[in-house]
């Protein structure tokens, strides 16, 4: 993991924010289409993007939380019992039967993919020119 902590060329904050927003939207729509592995793809993209490791990791975590969170929240707007369903999923998974646990477990699946993907991307492309 030392590579992830190495010096990187800082990117534009605005570009970082925009990329995060776009990624979140893509993840939300992807989730609706059943593309559960998109956080991994997003992590790969963030990993090879021109940001320091911490920024890449932060982008992935926040985008997954926002994108998948929105996908969870959207049906609740139309009356679906999302909180109760989260509690049910946690219970059926053998976890403490609380809605927060169900949501956290789901987001963890996305976030883990993104983090591992960033690691992989940066391990494949150590010190590439656009990050110097």
């Amino acid at each position: 993991m030392t590579d992830l902590d190495g010096p990187r060329r800082p990117g534009s904050a605005l570009a970082w924010l925009a990329a995060g927003a776009v990624t979140a939207v893509i993840l939300a729509f992807g989730a609706a289409l059943g593309l559960w592995f998109l956080p991994f793809v997003a992590g790969i993209a963030a990993g090879i993007a021109p940001w320091r490791a911490r920024r890449a990791l932060a982008l992935v975590v926040l985008a997954v939380a926002a994108g998948w969170g929105a996908a969870l929240w959207w049906p609740a707007l139309f009356g679906a019992p999302a909180g109760a369903t989260a509690r049910v999923l946690a219970a059926l998974a053998g976890l403490p039967p609380h809605a927060a646990v169900g949501v956290a477990a789901t987001l963890l699946v996305g976030v883990l993919q993104g983090l591992v993907a960033v690691w992989l991307a940066r391990a494949v492309t150590p010190g590439v020119s656009w990050r110097r």
Binding site: T2, A31, W36, F37, A80, A84
Partner: protein, 873 residues
Amino acid sequence: MRARQLRIGPKRPRRRFRRAVNLAAALVVSVVLLGILGFGYGTTPALGPALDPGRGAWTSAAGGEPARSETLGVKGLQHPVTVTFTSHGVAAVSAATDHDMFLALGYVHAEFRLSEMDEARRLGEGRLAQLGGPSDLPSDEFELRLGLLRTAQQEWAQMPKASLAAQALTAYAQGVNDDIAQVRASGQWPAVFSLPGVYPAPWTPVDSLVIQGVLTQELDFTSIPLDYALLERSLGAARTMAWFPVIAKNAQTPYDPGPYAKPALTPIAPGAASTMTGPPAVASSTPGAGTTARPAVTGPQAEAAWTLLAQLSQLPAGQLHEYPDSNAWAANGPAVAGGGALLAGDPHLPQTLPSVWYEVALSAPGFDVAGVSVPGLPGILIGHNARIAWSLTDTQNQATMFYDERTLRSRPGQYYWDGKWRKMQVVHYTIPVRGAATRHLTVDLTVHGPVMTQAGQTTSVDWMGNVPSPDLQAMLKVNQAASFSQFKAALATWYAPTQNFVYADANGNIGAISAGYYPQVGVGCQPWLPMSGTGRCDVTGVIPYAAEPQAYDPPGHVLATANQRPVTAAYPWFIGTSANFFDPGYRAATIYAALRGRSAPLTTAAFAAVQTSLTDQLAARIVPKLLTALDGASLSSSERAELPLLANWNATMAENSAAASVWWTFWGDYVADVFQPWWNQAKVPVRKDLAGLAVSVGQFSLVEDLEAWTLGDPANPAFSLPSGQPRTAAQVMRKAFATAVTHLAATLGGAPSSWTWGRLHTREFPAVSGADGLGYGPRPAGGDLFTPDAADGGLTATTGPSWRMIVSLSGAGVSAEGVYPGGQSENPASPWYDDLVPLWWDGRYLPVPVPGRAAGSLTWTLTITQTEAAGHD
């Protein structure tokens, strides 16, 4: 730092090495993570698709949304069907044809209970491990050995396809499959499917018959003969039969007091696992009489017994019958306010979420019936139509017989029967196991039935539930019956599980019949023990239907069944021993006392009061004896403080009663003080089967013994210690009382008046899925094993009244009210998941929808479509 490192030659290989390791690690972790998320590992499901927020298990939220009025396209309908719902989701189906009514019922059942139905058929068909992994293998192997699937397949093969039952099953399966297709198209599966990624197969009529078999097993299969074998081997035959006699020692109230006829036995239906060995023989005329000398239970027999009991102990809770607690009674004529008839029924089953019941009213040209249905089965099991009402309690007779098959190592795959060596039939099964290799199972079948174990002694089981039984046809005819003669005629082909069917009609008649098979074996054989499999103890026939326990318009204008032995000791056939789960009769006594001791004609309110009664009849009989025993005895201050509580107690196991705590704790200690020394001396192997062998308040034979001795034989030798030290009932009662008070003081502390029953005793309704947090409770509650409002399963009760119904019948019409502890939807996120629980808890009832009328304003219109998955508009 990076530039400097680049310049330093010797460090470059180390850096490259670290990068290579980092890359390899990242690759491995990525592949493993994606692999596990995408495909799962072992019993861990593929969490990626399962927890996808837009798909996967999250879509089960759709099933939790409140239902709304809509039009739904359903394939296979002949005409549009209307389904209306009350605010609690109780459905009323109105159809133009019987076919459409059953199809719509299948559709509605699947819409609200698909995972429950799938779980039940998986259980019966030995497919739980496919969903749950290796931990479910014991259940799958047991069920495939026992043969619920084989029996269901045989029933379907024998069923005339033009019969009412076959037509209903076919239409019902179509309705279930319509719903499955729609769910598949929407992707909105219940979470129990989408989380593991294992989805339900299409529904078939055999699946429904398997569910019928599961219910039969839960009510009818027993391991009591195995327990008897182990008791005999440890306690000895004489003491076993003295303490676990055929006829209970205490006074009971059978609903059919006789006189009894004794016609010739009826041959068992063709296709049964058991086989007639010749013309029906005359069975022993008195239970237990005529028995011949029999060798003691041998070591191999005991080994077989405990091996089989060990198998049974691994089954999920509720798979075998453990508690004999249902009530049903009726009153008519002058006993009822305004004349006519009243009927009450509350079957006591494991109380789960979702419930075993789905409440519905059905209307079609051939049916106008309402009550509770079983998801997976067409028709109403307990309810009423426009003319009659009925309810069920379990008869508790012995319908399971174990046989010691004679085998030789030199003759593998053979057994000796009827003078010849025979080849066992062999059936092979493959059991898919989630996260493990597929299991192959071979089941050997003898003329008696499946071989359940070959440990020690090859033992097979002849169980009446394995006799192909046209129960569904019988039940549907009951749904249509308009008189007692039609009701009785319908039940003539009901074989298992044997049930007490209580009846009332709009003409003001009441009745009951305990329909089903009562198998009889050869003279001199003892069916409460494993018997010789060589032929002489085979089933020779069953009690003729006309001679089965029954009653019609009894002179007292009331009748009640509460799982007590339905007949007196004069009944000329063997129907089971006192250990065969016949209730000790305390609930029946309380019910009869309330009905016969009425101060005014009975009303629905009076019936409701009896259904929720917390009177413990055993306490009412024993506590006066206890107080007498304590009178003048040297007591501690705590013990003295209890005396006025007990003296002023009305034997009600109320949640706020301190006397109830003392009584129940005392009774448990009293039972243990009397019998445990004998158990210890005989080294009864209680760990082989705690429920069947341990000394406890749940051993009804011992409870009956102790009641009878305390009231009428206080110097019985059983009170003395095995060492010979003499004791009387009063001495043991004083000791047990002191132990109980000491125990309660240590457990609950404070003043004795604060030791309320609710601090010791709770009720809980666990989720069928087994998931913590999806059940209800535990919550402090009243009741015990012996109260009409029964609470079974220990101090945290999980079994009790699973449906309470009261029906009023007269020339003016039939009306019913009912409630069950649960809700109409199995989805825990639905407002209909457990909304009926508070009503049930408070002893309130809701009107049962009237067949043919709208249950409420919420309406589904099911329209004809040719599309497989038309679904919601």
